[in-house]
Symmetry: C2
Subunit: 266 residues, 2 copies
């Protein structure tokens, strides 16, 4: 356990299966520019989206324990699959607030929709029906259609977000949702904001986009309350494997080189 610092200097911990949660990191850094942040990407075991809930819960607990040992003041589960599988368990276990990415996205969707919400996510998140459950809990009259868009992850990670191929893949995934009459689309995987431009071109301006990275950052800001933070907050990144790949993709996702990257074992 690291020595306990004053509240202003204790970092917010952000956890994801790999690089996708960096979109959440980016939005939290924008919304709370005075807060120190720790990011843990479980790159040795990525992706979570195709794994079973029991496995995802086990991995999430290990990641949370690691970040707790670094004296975080709050945990953000910046991975839809991990949120869908493990959030209640983590909230029950940990002595700090735990915020997931599903509920903020569901809330924003209900605020914006006039009745039909589309959700695109990984196979694991879609199977869990976490978004349908969260949206229906807020407004049972909203119709929700969930659809898996697994190729978007590979396209984002390989730097193909703004290519003709990405556009064509987006058309194939999104046209059934458009035909169904969605008025709001939730980007239910933290990789997908990287493809936001392409997705917007395909769905057109009549469909509201809910970016769960943005909405989660607003929830974190709300939960932090009156923090003074620090003048020059530090960012630290931890990965469980393949630092160089993480460094390369992080530079693309964050549009700047990262410092303080460390390999750890959970």
């Amino acid at each position: 356990m690291a020595p306990t610092a004053s509240n202003g200097a204790r970092p917010i911990g952000i956890f994801d299966s790999g690089v996708g949660g960096l979109t959440v990191f980016r939005e939290i850094a924008r919304a709370l520019p005075r807060e120190p942040l720790l990011y843990l990407g479980d790159s040795a075991r990525v992706p979570y989206g195709t794994k079973s809930p029991a496995t995802v819960i086990r991995y999430s607990i290990e990641a949370a324990r690691y970040l707790m040992s670094r004296d975080i003041r709050m945990l953000v589960v910046a991975c839809n699959t991990a949120t869908a599988a493990a959030l209640p368990k983590l909230q029950e276990m940990l002595p700090v607030p735990v915020i997931g990415v599903v509920e903020p996205g569901a809330r924003a969707a209900v605020e914006r929709t006039s009745g039909v919400v589309g959700v695109i996510a990984t196979e694991g998140t879609v199977k869990s029906k976490a978004y349908t459950t969260a949206i229906k809990a807020l407004d049972p009259d909203v119709e929700v259609i969930e659809s898996a868009a697994p190729l978007f992850v590979a396209l984002a990670e390989e730097g193909w977000a703004n290519t003709h191929v990405a556009r064509e893949v987006a058309e194939i995934y999104l046209e059934p949702l458009i035909d169904h009459g969605i008025d709001t689309l939730v980007l239910g995987c933290t990789h997908y904001p990287i493809l936001r431009g392409t997705i917007e071109q395909v769905v057109g301006s009549a469909v509201h986009i809910v970016d769960s990275a943005e909405t989660t950052a607003q929830s974190v800001k709300h939960a932090i309350g009156q923090s003074r933070g620090v003048a020059e907050p530090e960012y630290h990144f931890f990965v469980t494997d393949a630092e160089e790949r993480f460094r390369r993709i992080a530079a693309e996702f964050l549009e700047q080189e990262i410092e303080n990257l460390e390999l750890v074992s959970l």
Copy 2:
């Protein structure tokens, strides 16, 4: 340790990080229709292609130990990344023959080429330069160009192998190799044979395709020698996670439903 059976009934063990090695399984079953086969897919930790060599070696040793506990007569490392990282270590450790997928593919490439070989593989395999090393060891005059084609894995797994998108991705990956004048192309990832039709359309009939699943099956047949096998060999499949996903993709890769699928922990 399972009781030792007579040689004819002891299975060949085939190991991969996930589903890709099923292309090798399929070719071994075709080449040796009387041999019982065990297939282990480490689906809890897939993919290996983006992980570090040290991690891949550790995972490969655990997988090999599991299959040894099932009394296999031979181990086939049906994963290019694991072969590139861990083959010498496994050959040193295990008391049974260990065959990888790189050397058979390199040998076939050297036999067929008139001078310029292209290799497409995962990022991990390309970084290792395993194919360049293996080909140069056989014939130092052959020119080798290696290139990563990571999106092919997702396209194969999501059932998009024969789509227009796959064709376009193949053109983007392969045109630099064609322009460079390759006369032979090694499919250096066990997922890629699923896209063979699309790849052949792009490179044209003047380029020889080396399918490392096929060439590995021939090496296994040669190493097995005069085995009588059994009249009705059984196939058993073990995965470390997400059986249903494995079952669905296996049915596509093998073009038939699989039986005897079991979840195990390494």
